[in-house]
């Protein structure tokens, strides 16, 4: 399994498909959090938005990057589409780690904030939750489920808007609400950890749904 992970990661790194969403993330960080002197949790609230958009795009790029014929070869070798999909998600998550670190550190470096360990924990949980929801949306809008790229992009845009605006369809809106309230980071740590856990469950459901929908086409 780790051999498949290494192959997918190498292929993605060489393809440079990760660059556009990464650059957008960095640009969003620069515009949205530089010289911010407000509460750190509010800056992290902006990072959650950037992370959501970036990971959706990143996931679509990475899943669509794999050549369909190569995918067939890999599927036959591994013998399970779920394992291949899980490894693809692992590659996306790997790429999210440096983004998460940037999202945590950049607002601190460029703004004036009082930083506590609880702030960092809250920011990490919130951004991790956003990354997982972004990956889930990206999987369901990838070529495996929606073959036409125009329809996929439109669907992804609608899905991102929906999770940002509607409270009960994903943990994103509650995460942003928690980050923007006046409570201390320590008080927000538990609800944000629970919301991140819920995001992980939704990501697992999206992986299964993508597998079933992709397999049904065959």
């Amino acid at each position: 399994m780790s051999a498949l992970y290494r192959y997918l990661l190498t292929s993605v790194l060489l393809s440079q498909r990760y660059l556009p969403p990464t650059l957008i993330f960095l640009a969003a960080m620069a515009v949205g959090t530089t010289s911010d002197n407000g509460p750190l949790q509010s800056s992290y609230s902006f990072c959650v938005l950037a992370m959501l958009v970036c990971t959706t795009w990143l996931t679509v790029s990475i899943v669509n990057h794999e050549d369909p014929t190569q995918r067939k070869i890999t599927l036959v070798m591994i013998g399970s589409s779920l394992r291949v999909l899980t490894m693809t998600v692992a590659v996306v998550i790997t790429w999210c780690v440096p983004l998460l670190v940037i999202g945590l550190v950049y607002p601190i470096v460029t703004g004036k904030h009082v930083v506590t360990a609880a702030d960092l924990a809250v920011g990490a949980a919130a951004q991790l939750g956003a990354a997982m929801i972004g990956i889930a949306i990206g999987l369901l809008c990838s070529r495996l489920v929606i073959p036409r790229i125009g329809v996929a992009m439109l669907t992804a845009a609608v899905a991102i808007l929906a999770v940002l605006l509607l409270r009960w369809i994903s943990p994103i809106r509650p995460i942003m609400t928690v980050l923007s309230d006046e409570k201390s980071a320590a008080a927000n740590a538990v609800p944000l950890t629970l919301l991140a856990a819920l995001s992980a469950i939704l990501l697992a459901a999206a992986v299964l749904a993508t597998k079933l929908l992709a397999d049904r086409k065959e």
Partner: protein
């Protein structure tokens, strides 16, 4: 030993029926050729064999742990070199890095990959990409090897090398199934031939009906390497060319265009 068994398999895409009640058994050591017109369902049978497609009705039983597949088109946009790609594929197969490297270089050498093993995959020509696709399938001796038109795009040398490789693989106990349009290749490679006609496995036979052309040569034509020609006999001033009925028209036209005279065209009994 039975490696793959298709029982009463039907396959539909929407309302379109691709296969109907196909029964097929593939045993270890067999080289099965699936022949038939375009759209007859050959590739679908292969995809069912390796588990890339699921039957709409019936069942597919597979008794193989190491399964290899070569798709009909292999156009990689990968920036990885051919040797690096094959090393990765070998590692995914469970080979050690060293074994994967040695085996991939050995296969690329045998298949005579031009331009070298360090050429990025996306810069390979169709024929060379096909050689890499074949090499990945043979890295670890498979128990079931399935190839969709594997000779497409290969040069003459790789053509015969592939034939040797498939025969060796079958001799090592693998079940091999492939699709191919060239009657000569099917005749010289397969131990069994199945014909698909509009999704139905209508016949099992070794060879199609043949036509014999008796010709008087003019300008040079290399009949020995003509893809459809099964046999060439030179008798005095004349040349006799044997090829499958239905494919003789193009050969006849080639002969006439080169100023050859046609003495006779006659159907001969198939094997």
């Amino acid at each position: 030993m039975e490696v793959v068994r298709l029982r009463k398999v039907s396959k539909r895409y929407g309302r379109r029926e691709i296969l109907a009640d196909v029964d097929l058994q593939l045993n270890a050591g067999e080289l099965l050729a699936l022949v038939g017109a375009n759209g007859s369902g050959k590739s679908t049978v292969l995809r069912l064999m390796v588990g890339l497609a699921r039957p709409s009705a019936g069942s597919v039983q597979r008794n193989a742990d190491v399964v290899s597949y070569v798709p009909d088109v292999f156009t990689s946009h990968d920036r990885l070199s051919a040797s690096a790609y094959l090393r990765h594929m070998g590692r995914i197969r469970g080979l050690s890095t060293r074994t994967a490297r040695d085996r991939s270089l050995e296969l690329l050498d045998r298949l005579a990959l031009s331009g070298g093993a360090e050429t990025p995959m996306r810069k390979l020509s169709k024929g060379n990409a096909q050689k890499v696709a074949l090499a990945q399938a043979l890295l670890d001796p498979p128990q079931l090897l399935v190839l969709d038109e594997p000779w497409a795009g290969l040069d003459a040398t790789a053509h015969s090398t592939l034939r040797e490789l498939l025969t060796e693989t079958a001799e090592q106990g693998a079940a091999v199934a492939f699709t191919e349009h060239s009657a000569e290749v099917v005749r010289s490679t397969a131990t069994r031939v199945c014909e698909l006609d509009h999704g139905k496995l209508t016949s099992l036979r070794r060879e199609t009906a043949l036509t014999e052309l008796h010709l008087i040569p003019a300008a040079d034509i290399d009949w020995d390497h003509h893809p459809d020609v099964l046999e060439v006999r030179r008798t005095g001033a004349g040349v006799t060319v044997l090829l499958p009925t239905g494919r003789h028209d193009a050969a006849l036209l080639t002969a006439l265009n080169h100023g050859w005279s046609v003495v006779s065209v006659r159907r001969v009994k198939s094997e």
